[in-house]
C-alpha cells in the first residue's frame, strides 16, 4: 500500500475501531477466584519481606561480604604454610589406612 490517501484512510479506520468496540468483562467467578487467591496468600508465610526490606538489604550484603573476606583470608593463610615431607607421608598414610597394623594378616598366614 503506497498511496498516501489510502494509507491515511486505513489509519483512520484502524484508530476508529476503538470507538465502537465491546468492553472486556470479568467472568462470573472472579470474586470466588479472588478470595481463594487472597486466602492462599495469607496462609503462605513469606520470606519476601526479608529481600524487599530496605534496611535489611545492606545488612545481608555486608554479611555475605564479611563471610567472603574471612574465607579468602583463611585460604591465603593456609596456602602460606608449606607441607614438610613428614606431613606428606602422614597424610598419605591416613588416606590409605596405612597406620593400621598388618599383624593380623601374618597370623592368618601362619595358621595355614
Amino acid at each position: 500500500m503506497k498511496n498516501k490517501a489510502d494509507i491515511e484512510r486505513e489509519i483512520e479506520k484502524t484508530i476508529s475501531l476503538l470507538d465502537g468496540k465491546n468492553k472486556m468483562k470479568a467472568d462470573a467467578f472472579f470474586y470466588t477466584r479472588l478470595s481463594a487467591k487472597m486466602e492462599q496468600t495469607e496462609s503462605n508465610f513469606s520470606f519476601e519481606w526479608l529481600l524487599t526490606s530496605p534496611w535489611l538489604k545492606p545488612l545481608i550484603v555486608a554479611f555475605v561480604l564479611f563471610i567472603n573476606i574471612i574465607s579468602i583470608s583463611h585460604l591465603i593463610k593456609s596456602d602460606d604454610r608449606e607441607l614438610t615431607n613428614d606431613d606428606v607421608v602422614s597424610l598419605f598414610n591416613e588416606e590409605y589406612f596405612m597406620t593400621q597394623s598388618t599383624d593380623s594378616y601374618l597370623v592368618i598366614n601362619e595358621d595355614l
Binding site: 489509519i11 475501531l17 465491546n22 468492553k23 470479568a26
Partner: protein
C-alpha cells in the same frame, strides 16, 4: 462503603469487587491486550485495594483511586515483561492476544470483516505498545474506559491541559507508527 471497607467488612469488599471488576479488567486489558493477563492484574489490583484501603485518604473518589492502582499495576506488569524479554513470554502474549481480540469485536460482522478487524487491532495494539507510558495511560483510559479528560487528570494526578497534550501526542504517534506499518505492507 469506605468506612465499612476500612473496618474490614467482607460484604463491603465483595460489593466493591462486583461494582468495579469489569472496569478494572477492561482497563488492564487496554494496557496488556491479553485477557488472561488482564484478569491476573485485576486480581492484584483488588488485593492491593484490600491491603491499602486503611491508608486511603479520600482526597480523591474511590473510583479514581482504583483506576490509579489498575493503571500502575498494568504499567508495572509491562515493565516487568519488557525487562524479562523472554521469547516464550512474547510468543505467549502474541498468540493469546489474537484470541482476546475476538471478544472486542462488535457483533453482526462477516467473517471477512472480522478477519480484517483482527489485523487492524493487532497493528493498533503494536502501535499502542510503542507509546511512552504516560501517553499510553491517558490514551487507554480515554479509549478503553471512555473516561473524561478530567477523570484521567485525577487518576494520573496531572492537569487537564497535560492530559489533552498527552492524548494529542499519543494520536500523532499512533498515526506515525501506523503510517509506517501500512506503507510497508
Amino acid at each position: 462503603m469506605i468506612k465499612e471497607l476500612k473496618s474490614g467488612s467482607e460484604a463491603a469488599f465483595r460489593e466493591l469487587v462486583e461494582t468495579y471488576k469489569n472496569k478494572v479488567v477492561n482497563t488492564c486489558f487496554g494496557f496488556v491486550h491479553n485477557y488472561e493477563d488482564a484478569d491476573d492484574i485485576a486480581q492484584e489490583v483488588f488485593i492491593e485495594v484490600f491491603k491499602s484501603i486503611k491508608y486511603f485518604k479520600e482526597d480523591s473518589s474511590l473510583s479514581t483511586w482504583i483506576y490509579r492502582i489498575a493503571t500502575n499495576k498494568s504499567l508495572d506488569y509491562l515493565r516487568k515483561v519488557k525487562r524479562q524479554k523472554r521469547w516464550s513470554e512474547l510468543t505467549r502474549l502474541s498468540l493469546s492476544s489474537n484470541e482476546s481480540i475476538s471478544n472486542l469485536l462488535t457483533d453482526s460482522k462477516t467473517p471477512f470483516d472480522i478477519m480484517e478487524d483482527k489485523e487492524r487491532f493487532a497493528a493498533l495494539n503494536t502501535a499502542i505498545d510503542k507509546l511512552a507510558n504516560n501517553q499510553k495511560a491517558a490514551f487507554t483510559l480515554h479509549k478503553y474506559e471512555e473516561l473524561s479528560y478530567k477523570e484521567i487528570a485525577d487518576i494520573l494526578d496531572t492537569s487537564l491541559s497535560s492530559v489533552e497534550s498527552l492524548i494529542h501526542r499519543a494520536k500523532k504517534n499512533l498515526q506515525k507508527y501506523l503510517f509506517n506499518y501500512y506503507k510497508n505492507q
